[in-house]
Amino acid sequence: MFAWSRRDALKRCGTGMGMLALGTMLADQSQGSEIDTNPLAPKKPHFEAKAKHVVHLFMNGGPSQVDTFDPKPALDKYHGKPLPRTNLRTERKTGAAMRSPFSFKKHGQSGIEVSEIFEATAKHVDDMCIIRSMYADVPNHEPSLMLMNCGEGRLPRPSFGAWATYGLGSENRNLPGFVVMCPGGFPIVATQNWRSSFLPGVYQGTYLDTKQTDVEKLVANIRNTQMSPARQEKQLNLLKAFNEEHLNNRKADAQLEARIRTFELAFRMQSEATDAFDITRETKTTRELYGDNLHGRQLLYTRRLIERGVRFIQVWSGAGQPWDNHDNLEKQHRKLAGDWDRAISAFLFDLKRTGLFDSTLVLWGGEFGRTPVAELPALNGRDHNHYGFSCWLAGGGVRGGTIVGATDEFGFQAVENPVHVHDLHATMLHLLGFDHEKLTYRYAGRDFRLTDVHGHVVKEMLA
């Protein structure tokens, strides 16, 4: 009864030619027999995936590695004095070494040292893989955000979330596949951070202003304010009857059928989405575990969305660049980490409790790190640093309790096993079941991929 050609199917499913690149996966999909007209229908990756969902905790502005996950005792020794090497050139002028105002303590069986400002998070250190040798290309926010999110610093390219959703679809047809939460407005470069670019628009991140707590303000058009659900159902039944007569007069057309189905989907989506963001349905114990603050709420939404099969969730620290502490770093970092710490710890705990931990890949990090030397003239903050910084992964397929790579003795530059942002992407795609060189999309005469012509899977991160 379907009369779509293969090309039409590919095109109208919103995947265009690019889906051909995923050709192998179609062959495996025989048990479903009917190719779904929904471009977000779940798809199989290249090989068996360790992780099915990604949660990216984005510390925008750039958290300092030497104050969080990369302790450097040498800075105590040189505090207030110039380093024995020339300071690498960063965005602004920097001066003498600046020791971390925070103390570090060993945690877990692995005995990995973590700063006091992430003490609660550190309880999970045996499940975390800390990459201490991250590096990026430039010390400016805009290109670094784009590199971290889209794998390219300047040119318009799709975001990681869009690629992941394009490759895997979503397991919940009633919710968007890629959700972005940022309280109070946009981070720097705004929606470019979660764009779909040349991938079909359906893979773009759906932005939620999590400062809002009311679900109607959170998700556009999610509720009809004019009609009761019963009245709407009646209306949609009438619509269906008209559409069916229209379809019968035209024999068959899969496009027409697909559109009939979207109204049924949309109707269900209303209650599903409302439900996903209704955290009053959680027990009091759970809510207390996460803490009654913004990030607690964001991460509770996150867990509820993962439970419902949403593929990729990005959670930002806040509008603008909260972690960009050029001055007053001690006070600011303590506050920012304080806002996150309990929520992250609760979130990881909750994922384990609900059995979602092993299928969820959690990434924590910023667009770059900060200099181990103080910024002039205030001398109580740090400049941007793309030469070396830390981030961590936890969950599906990640080797817990490990440290990958190292920076130099001051934490300025990645020197041991350096991991470029492209390598991080390649590794994360690997955990999602993709060969990063084969997840491609044909556009403007070229097969594009998230890692462009770069990237290596970092084996040390894999369980």
Binding site: M1, F2, W4, S5, R6, R7, D8, A9, K11, R12, G14, L26, A27, S33, E34, I35, L88, R89, K93, P139, N140, E142, P156, T191, R195, S196, S197, F198, G201, V202, Q204, Y207, A220, N221, I222, N224, K234, Q235, L238, L239, A241, F242, N243, H246, R250, K251, A254, Q255, L256, R259, T262, L265, A266, F267, M269, K438, A444, G445, R446, H456
Partner: protein, 893 residues
């Protein structure tokens, strides 16, 4: 099992047949070509062939170099290339470094596989690709002779007959008028228009309908939207640091497009004006706004190279279906576009600039208010210009006086990771980071060009610090290229700092001699002149270009000057925005830029110089451009009859918008990797006919619309589905889902609310303004997810084609958003509906307004049942709202 899934399985079965080749080629593309391109071709490519070896084609590799063949296919261990990369024997490649073990394995595997290489000629020899259909000249084929048949139908029928498929019958009149009105105006016909057309017995009725629709301004509005997709139109710049984010006058370009289409401006002239209206004879002052085609793109945070890349992309992919941007970093992988040609185009746009104060769109108002405004503006411009002049003078002065410091800083910077791409902040009085980068680039050029005076510098600066004392005397002893430099190094310097100081002294001495010379002519002593040119030559690192735009900001790295500059430039911008609209033009720069190839796209790694000229593949007898930037010459070359692409691409575009799919189904890629045309002869015939008809788009529409092929029914037919499931051969029309704009406009139109004013500034979408969606403000920075949901393309790059997805958020918006509800309310208030005496009459009038037809008995029954007993007002509202959601409303048969 549904047929569609079956079709997909068939598609998959065909893959393995070509698999053996394909796998090898894929492996080559993925794992080998990048290594060859990045690691080997610098020394063994088209430009340089060390040891007479080229590694850029299979033939060249097999031929080998001075050591004979370097590869024996299938025998890695016997291949010199494999031995060399293992670096175990005498020959070690690449020089001075070693490939990663992964790369070594890949090359070895590739040799073992027998050197699979996708297209023998694709890297090196463009000439052989001229045989590609789209690059060969357009010749007008004769239409197949069929008595009295429309030429389009003759071509289409010929193929159908070959496939033994019969065309579909003509659609009924109601369907036809809806289809054609939607195609040309983006709204449905009024019930009266449908009645008139249906009742007309005149054999000319259809043709008259076409003429009437093409004569209305609504035609230009509908088709302007298609063109704006290609022109990546938006009302702002995207993310920018400091400058004004909006384009306050982008709409003047939109107006230009609407007017040009409505006046049926010949397409070749339309193209020429959009690329060089400032230089072609202008019809009226407003046609300068045509240049918005180049200037409404994204601003890429002020990165000149990306901005130019975007312009190259919009003219090449947008107008010619050619993906020239692929050649930014290396020769195009598939199409015959060498990277030299990319930089030939780059030079044209680099020689053009956007003035800070663009010309007025309309004629200057002759009133006191404007005079006052004008004077104010001039004052602000002067403050800015004074500031820039003064800062620029200081900058150049400092760069000259402190050339020794800059030389040393440039040397030191080599030890740092490259910082050329950063934005750096510095303090007043510091050496300027942007200038250090210029000195670094200058030194790199002298090394490449082997400039005599600098040979010694490079020999010394290549030394490690520890070897300096030991190794420098011999180098100095042997050096004799520039007499003055030799003399300055009679004693041995202790380190590079001293070397820099001596060079600095030499340069300043040359400057002094020249300044003291009365004539200020170039110095006769060529050794002295070489040193003088360091500060006064055309490539002098000290002489940074003076600009009056945001680009100048990078030359002011200290915060205080930046703040002052920003303040001054903002004042001009703010003032401008208070005044009358202006055209977003591009002017030729006073000093043209002579482009060099940027190796691998990197502006600081410059290769050979190339002329500003057109693409060789499209103009084999090309000559370098001579008039200013060359933009007008470029425009004429693009819009030339000789260009094999321009006419083909536009007739394909027009065809696509009338059939839902082009004769070439990749409208943005006519290159080797694009889809070949389904009807190559028809495409060429249309393109020739189009040019013969004076490049008239309206005549082209009429030609297509009068064909029986266009007028067919869109019903599927089982007999044809087997033979041609994709309807490639057009045995029926294609049913099409409305894009966002016609859906939006149709709802406003049916509810009697659509404003029909043509042109003008943009309004904010979704705020209840009843204008066509065409006039909605397009925000490039925060592109509304609702638009993305409805497949309105993101204006970050040229979009020759939209995708057509069907997803739930579209439904959600229609079901719950206020827009449709409002349309329903208003439609119920239309006089003939509000006053209808019976429910049946009311429904009849509603259905006529929305679908130009009466309800069927079944529909009538269901509607009456739905209305039932409850609150009639609410029920009618729900009903009409529901009808707006139907497939019938959202599709064109």
């Amino acid at each position: 099992m549904p047929k569609m899934a079956f079709a997909i399985l068939i598609g998959l079965v065909t893959i393995p047949l070509a698999w053996a080749d394909k796998a090898g080629e894929d492996f080559f593309e993925r794992s080998v070509r990048p290594i060859l391109a990045e690691q080997c071709m610098g020394c063994h490519g088209a430009k340089i062939q060390k040891s007479s070896l080229r590694l850029d084609s299979k033939a060249a590799i097999l031929k080998g170099g001075i050591s004979g063949p370097v590869v024996i296919p299938g025998k890695p261990s016997e291949s010199l290339l494999v031995q060399a990369i293992h670096q175990k024997g005498e020959l070690k490649m690449p020089q001075g470094r070693k490939l990663s073990s992964k790369d070594i394995n890949s090359l070895e595997k590739w040799v073992a596989m027998g050197l699979p290489w996708p297209d023998e000629n694709s890297l090196a020899q463009p000439s052989n690709q001229q045989s590609h259909w789209a690059f060969s000249p357009i010749r007008k084929p004769k239409a197949p002779s069929q008595y009295g048949m429309h030429p389009i139908d003759a071509f289409i029928q010929k193929t159908l007959q070959e496939k033994q498929i019969k065309p579909s019958p003509q659609a009924d009149k109601r369907t036809l008028i809806r289809r054609i009105t939607m195609d040309l105006h983006g709204i449905p016909p009024s019930p009266e228009a449908v009645k008139d057309f249906s009742n007309s017995k005149s054999p000319k009725a259809y043709e008259e309908l076409i003429d009437q629709l093409l004569g209305s301004t609504a035609y230009g509005e509908r088709w302007a939207r298609h063109w704006l997709d290609i022109a990546r139109y938006a009302d702002n710049k995207g993310y920018v640091f400091f400058e004004e984010k909006n384009y306050p006058w982008a709409w003047t370009y939109r107006n230009y497009v609407i007017d040009a289409l409505n006046q049926d401006l010949p397409y070749n002239q339309f193209i020429i004006e959009q690329i060089a209206a400032d230089q072609s004879s202008t019809r009226n002052p407003k046609s300068l706004a045509a240049l918005g085609f180049l200037t409404v793109g994204s601003h890429f945070m002020g990165n000149t190279h990306d901005l130019i890349d975007d312009r190259i992309d919009v003219i090449s992919r947008g107008i010619m279906g050619l993906t020239v941007s692929c050649a930014r970093c290396h020769d195009h992988k598939y199409d015959p576009i060498p990277t030299e040609d990319y930089y030939s185009l780059y030079g044209i746009f680099r020689s053009s600039f956007e003035p800070l104060v663009p010309p007025l769109w309309e004629t200057e108002p002759a009133n006191e208010e404007y005079e006052f405004f004008s004077a104010e503006l001039a004052r602000k411009e002067n403050s800015l210009s004074d500031f820039v002049t003064q800062k620029h003078r200081e900058l150049v002065k400092q760069a000259r006086e402190r050339c020794a410091d800059y030389l040393f800083a440039a040397y030191e910077a080599q030890k740092q990771p490259p910082a050329d791409d950063f934005m750096l902040l510095a303090d007043k009085g510091d050496l300027n980071p942007a200038m250090i980068a210029r000195w670094r680039a200058f030194l790199a050029t002298t090394k490449k060009k082997k400039s005599p005076a600098w040979q010694l510098w490079h020999q010394l600066s290549d030394l490690e610090m520890e070897q300096f004392a030991q190794a420098s005397p011999a180098l100095i002893q042997d050096y004799r290229e520039n007499r003055l430099v030799s003399e300055a190094f009679k004693t041995i310097p202790k380190d590079m700092k001293e070397v820099a100081q001596r060079y600095g002294k030499l340069i300043l001495n040359a400057e002094r001699v020249w300044l003291e010379s009365p004539s200020k002519e170039p110095l006769a002593d060529k050794h002295l002149e070489e040193l003088r040119l360091v500060l006064y030559g055309p490539d002098s690192p000290a002489d940074a270009p003076k600009q009056m735009d945001w680009g100048f900001l990078s030359l002011l790295p200290d915060r205080a000057s930046q703040a002052e500059y920003q303040k001054l430039i903002k004042e001009v911008e703010t003032k401008l925005n208070e005044g009358p609209p202006r055209s977003m033009v591009l002017w030729d720069s006073e000093r043209t830029y002579d482009p060099r190839v940027f190796l691998r796209g990197h502006p600081n790694r410059q290769g050979i110089q190339v002329p500003r000229q057109f693409l060789e593949i499209l103009s084999p007898r090309r000559k370098p451009f001579t008039q200013g930037s060359g933009r007008l010459e470029l425009a004429k070359a693009i819009a030339s009859r000789e260009n094999p692409l321009t006419a083909r691409v536009i007739v394909n575009q027009v065809w696509m918008r009338h059939f839902g799919r082009g004769l070439v189904s990749t409208p943005g890629d006519f290159g080797v990797r694009g889809d070949p045309p389904s009807h190559p002869e028809l495409l060429d015939w249309l393109a020739s006919e189009f040019m013969d008809n004076g490049w008239s788009l309206k005549k082209l529409h009429k030609l297509i619309l009068t064909s029986a092929t266009y007028q067919q029914e869109s019903m599927d037919r089982d007999d044809c589905l087997q033979k041609d499931p994709e309807n490639r051969f057009l045995w029926r029309q294609n049913r099409r889902r409305l894009e966002f704009e016609p859906l939006h406009d149709s709802m406003l139109f049916v509810s009697g609310r659509l404003e029909t004013t043509v042109g003008g500034p943009s309004f904010r979408l979704f705020t209840g303004v009843p204008r066509k969606a065409l006039y909605g403000f397009i925000d490039r920075l925060d592109f509304p997810s609702l638009l993305a949901t409805f497949d309105v393309p993101n204006p970050n790059a040229s979009n020759p084609e939209r995708s057509s997805t069907i997803v739930a958020p579209q439904a959600l918006y229609l079901m719950n958003g206020p827009f449709v509800r409002d349309a329903a309310t208003r439609l119920l208030n239309a006089p003939n509906i509000r006053t209808a005496s019976t429910a049946k009459d009311k429904l009849e009038n509603i259905m006529q307004a929305m679908f130009s037809r009466s309800p069927s008995p079944g529909e009538m029954e269901r509607a009456l049942e739905f209305l039932g007993q409850g609150n009639q007002q609410e029920a009618w509202l729900d009903l009409v709202h529901g009808l707006f959601l139907t497939n019938e409303f959202a599709f064109v048969d």
